[in-house]
Each structure stands twice: as structure tokens, then as C-alpha cells.
């Protein structure tokens, strides 16, 4: 039987530690992160539980969790961790791994939002909110939430009908391309 206490250097824990650059193995389960997490009540697995599951090599449970997609990146956990673990940074790494391994839950709305947002930046060099909102609605199939907000924002001139492009939009496109090429190598 595999001894989970002995690191082989190729474990899930090692991989997440290497990619996030933070010492997850130092977590001693004080739960300070979970206690102060603003989204704790909405999470299926709390941040300290995610740290423990990573120790135990529970890759599937971690990467398929809804919790990693609920993180608001508020940095309270990373700021307060007595062991200096960048927990919010670990959440970022876990989201990336879940996407790469195609195991993110289909209703991970934050994934659809991030994709729609970055597509907008790729095309215009800046975020074009109106286009991004429509793209997000289609990707998430969540058509009816906040239907009243768009008109309210339009009335306050808080949404623009047309994109405001950056003069460096073509440079941004090139950067996106190079980032993708490097990833494939």
C-alpha cells in the first residue's frame, strides 16, 4: 500500500506546491483561513479542508470541488495564515489544474466568466463589458439572473454599447498567442 506520509516527489501535493510556489505541507489545520473566509458559507469544501485533502493526495475530490470556483481572491486567508501559505494562490493553481484536466464541474460559473472576460481582453486589449456579459450568459446558460441590472447600468451610462479598444490591442493579441504557444510546449 502506498505510504501517504512519504513524499515521492511526484505526488499531487508536490505538484500543487511546485506550481503555486507555496509550502502547503506546512499547514497544521488551525482553520484560521476557513474561519475568516467570506465565502465559507457558500463553499462545499473549506480552504483548510482543501489544504488537508491536498496532503492526502485526494486529487479528484479537490479538483472536482465547487469550492475552488467560489474563492473571491480576497487574500484574507493568505494574509492571515500563520505558516505563510499563499492559500488564495493555491486556489488559482487548483482552478488551472482543473481546467487542464477537464474535470471542472460544468456549473463552475467562475470558469465561464474568466473565459468570457479574457476573450474580451484578447480582442480589444481592454474589457468590453457588454460583449463579455452576453458571452458569459451563453457560456453559463444563466440567462435570467440580474436581468434588471443591464438597463439600470445603461441608464447611468455605466455600460458602453461599443467597445473602447486599446491602441495596443494587436500587441495584446500577440501576447495571448505567445502565452498559448508556450503552454503547448
Amino acid at each position: 500500500m502506498e505510504n501517504r506520509l512519504e513524499s515521492t516527489g511526484t505526488s499531487f501535493l508536490d505538484e500543487v506546491q511546485r506550481r503555486s510556489g507555496t509550502p502547503i505541507s506546512a499547514c497544521f489545520q488551525c482553520h484560521k483561513c476557513s474561519t475568516g473566509c467570506p465565502i465559507g458559507p457558500e463553499m462545499d469544501v473549506l480552504s483548510s479542508q482543501i489544504m488537508r485533502l491536498i496532503h492526502l493526495g485526494e486529487e479528484k475530490e479537490v479538483l472536482e470541488s465547487q469550492g475552488i470556483w467560489m474563492c473571491a481572491s480576497c487574500e484574507a486567508c493568505s494574509t492571515r495564515c500563520p505558516m505563510g501559505i499563499d492559500i488564495a494562490g493555491v486556489m488559482d493553481t487548483l482552478r488551472m489544474m482543473a481546467v487542464e484536466r477537464k474535470v471542472a464541474p460544468p456549473d463552475a460559473r467562475a470558469k465561464h466568466f474568466a473565459h468570457s472576460f479574457l476573450q474580451s481582453v484578447r480582442h480589444h486589449g481592454r474589457v468590453y463589458e457588454m460583449g463579455m456579459l452576453v458571452a458569459y450568459k451563453f457560456r453559463s446558460r444563466d440567462f435570467f439572473t440580474d436581468m434588471d441590472k443591464g438597463p439600470k447600468m445603461l441608464m447611468k451610462k455605466k455600460l458602453a454599447f461599443l467597445p473602447i479598444r486599446s491602441g495596443a490591442a494587436s500587441e495584446v493579441k500577440e501576447v495571448f498567442k505567445r502565452v498559448e504557444e508556450e503552454k503547448e510546449q
Binding site: P38, I39, S73, F117, A169
Partner: protein
């Protein structure tokens, strides 16, 4: 005092009143802002949660452009501020990050462009004594809850111009303008930030918690320094009250909108008509005529 201004995407649209009030306040105080030409989006949360390389490369593109301007960068959006500072931190502390950023942007960058937030500039560069001397209309009678949110003070190794758990810079600014800055416990609690689109129920829960605590602490308005904090607390306030219990409608102003009033600027110059929850109660408290000087966006 001259700064390379990075407005960021929000200030062009959803936070145009922040943009307008920052520019008006700086103009009044003699702080010169020059927009960084062809700046690009910082990538915000979507970039750092999806692609580590892109999360550094996008802010670096703007910082490379600012480098030629020979002065520090100033941002108003707390998220842009955090992303630009984080990119600098990574480029300076990790040679691999620097090489990768230079490779994908195709240009050199050494992480040397200083990035400041408008509140930091006002409090620490311009100075509270100078602000006090420029006040034309005291905000006495206004009781404000300074809401710092997350990224202005966290994580401390990246931002570091105030205490991450007990910040006071905005309170000091409002006190200098004659207002009463109330003591309240949720000043650095998160509003739900980028979950606004994806998890509005959670954002409403957090917004309700914040607004009702500010009221309980005796505040009659909340001041923010982040476009998402403003949007989540202001635009969603009615929904939050409906879902979690009635709270007195509470105006949520940008720090520069409230300070601008003290500096003698008009509500039109400060974009007050962009607010969803009307700030008339605040104007009455500092004895401004509510109907006068109402201006729209040009």
C-alpha cells in the same frame, strides 16, 4: 507632483464617476495626471485564476509603456493596483517570472516602475495637512464608514501602505476634510468582488452584512476606493435588502467623490448622478443645496 495615470477598464465604464472624481480632485490639488498611452487591461481576477503567465504579462505591458514616462504610476481601481504591484513583485523576486514576462511581451522590463494608489498619493504624497488647508466646505455632520475592502491592504507584502487588518488612511483623509469617520469592524471584509456576476446571492449576503454594520456603527454613508466594492454595495443594495432584511438606503461614494465635496467641487464635477442610491442625504448633511449644480456626463 506628476503621475502616469492607469485608469483601467472599469473607470472607462462602470466606474466613470470614480474616473471623473479622481481627475477633478487631482486637478484641484495641482496633482498632474498623464494617461499612460495605449494602456491595456490588467487581466484582473480572470487572468490570475486562469493563466499565471498572462497574469504577469498583461500588467507588465502597461508598466513597460509607463516606464518611458519617467514618473510613478497611479491607479484608482484597487484590483488594477493589486495586479500591477503583484506583477512588479514577481518580476523583481523571481528571475524565471521576469524572463517569461519579457519573452511573451517581447520587451525588457525590470520591475522598477513604482505603482501607487490614489489614496496613498493623497495621504502620503500630498499630505493630510495640505488637504486640511485646501478644504473649502467642511464635511462636518457627515458620518462615514471607510470601507477598504480587500486589495488595497492585502496581501501586505505586495501593497503595504497601510495596516492590512486595521487600516486608517481613508479615515484620516475624511477627518482632515471635517467628517466623522465611524469605528466599524468590517472595514477590510470582502464584498464578494469578482463573484458579482457569478454568485450574486453570496454577494448580496456580504453586501447586506457590510451595509447593515455600517449603519449600526452610526454611519450615514460608506466610502470606497474600488469599482467592484462600489458596484456590489450600491447597485445590489436593494436586492440585498430584499433578500436579507430592510436597511436604510445607504449612499456608497467613491473616496474622491466625498473628498471632492470638501474641496468645493460640484456634484456634477464629481459624477454624483452615477450613484444608484442617491447621496442627497449626505449633501444635506454638509448643507449643500441638493437640486443645484446637478450635472450629467458630457
Amino acid at each position: 507632483m506628476r503621475y502616469a495615470f492607469f485608469p483601467g477598464c472599469s473607470l472607462e465604464t462602470t466606474a466613470w464617476d470614480f474616473d471623473r472624481s479622481v481627475r477633478a480632485v487631482c486637478r484641484t490639488l495641482g496633482i498632474t495626471l498623464e494617461d499612460i498611452p495605449d494602456w491595456v487591461c490588467c487581466g484582473s481576477t480572470p487572468a490570475h485564476t486562469s493563466n499565471a503567465s498572462l497574469a504577469v504579462a498583461l500588467p507588465v505591458m502597461t508598466l513597460q509603456k509607463a516606464k518611458h514616462m519617467g514618473c510613478p504610476v497611479m491607479t484608482a481601481c484597487a484590483s488594477c493596483y493589486s495586479r500591477l504591484r503583484t506583477a512588479n513583485h514577481k518580476v523583481c523576486s523571481d528571475p524565471d517570472e521576469r524572463q517569461r514576462a519579457e519573452r511573451v511581451t517581447g520587451k525588457p522590463y525590470d520591475g522598477s516602475v513604482e505603482v501607487r494608489h490614489v489614496v496613498d498619493v493623497l495621504v502620503n504624497d500630498f499630505g493630510l495637512d495640505n488637504i486640511r488647508a485646501r478644504v473649502k466646505r467642511s464635511l462636518s455632520g457627515v458620518r462615514v464608514a471607510s470601507y477598504y475592502g480587500c486589495l488595497l491592504t492585502r496581501p501586505p507584502e505586495i501593497v503595504a501602505f497601510d495596516n492590512p487588518e486595521h487600516p486608517s488612511c481613508m479615515d484620516d483623509l475624511f477627518k482632515a476634510a471635517g467628517a466623522e469617520a465611524v469605528e466599524w469592524p468590517y472595514r477590510t471584509e470582502c464584498c464578494g468582488a469578482g463573484l458579482s456576476m457569478t454568485e450574486p446571492d453570496a454577494v448580496n449576503r456580504l453586501g447586506h452584512k457590510l451595509v447593515s454594520m455600517a449603519r449600526q456603527a452610526g454611519a450615514d454613508c460608506i466610502a470606497v476606493a474600488c469599482p467592484l466594492c462600489q458596484l456590489n454595495l450600491d447597485l445590489r443594495q436593494a436586492d440585498a435588502a430584499k433578500a436579507y432584511g430592510a436597511v436604510l438606503p445607504t449612499p456608497v461614494l467613491y473616496v474622491t467623490q466625498l473628498l471632492g465635496l470638501a474641496l468645493g467641487l460640484s456634484v456634477g464635477e464629481l459624477g454624483f448622478n452615477a450613484l444608484t442610491v442617491s447621496a442627497d442625504s449626505v449633501l444635506q448633511r454638509c448643507e449643500m443645496v441638493v437640486s443645484a449644480g446637478r450635472g450629467g456626463r458630457p
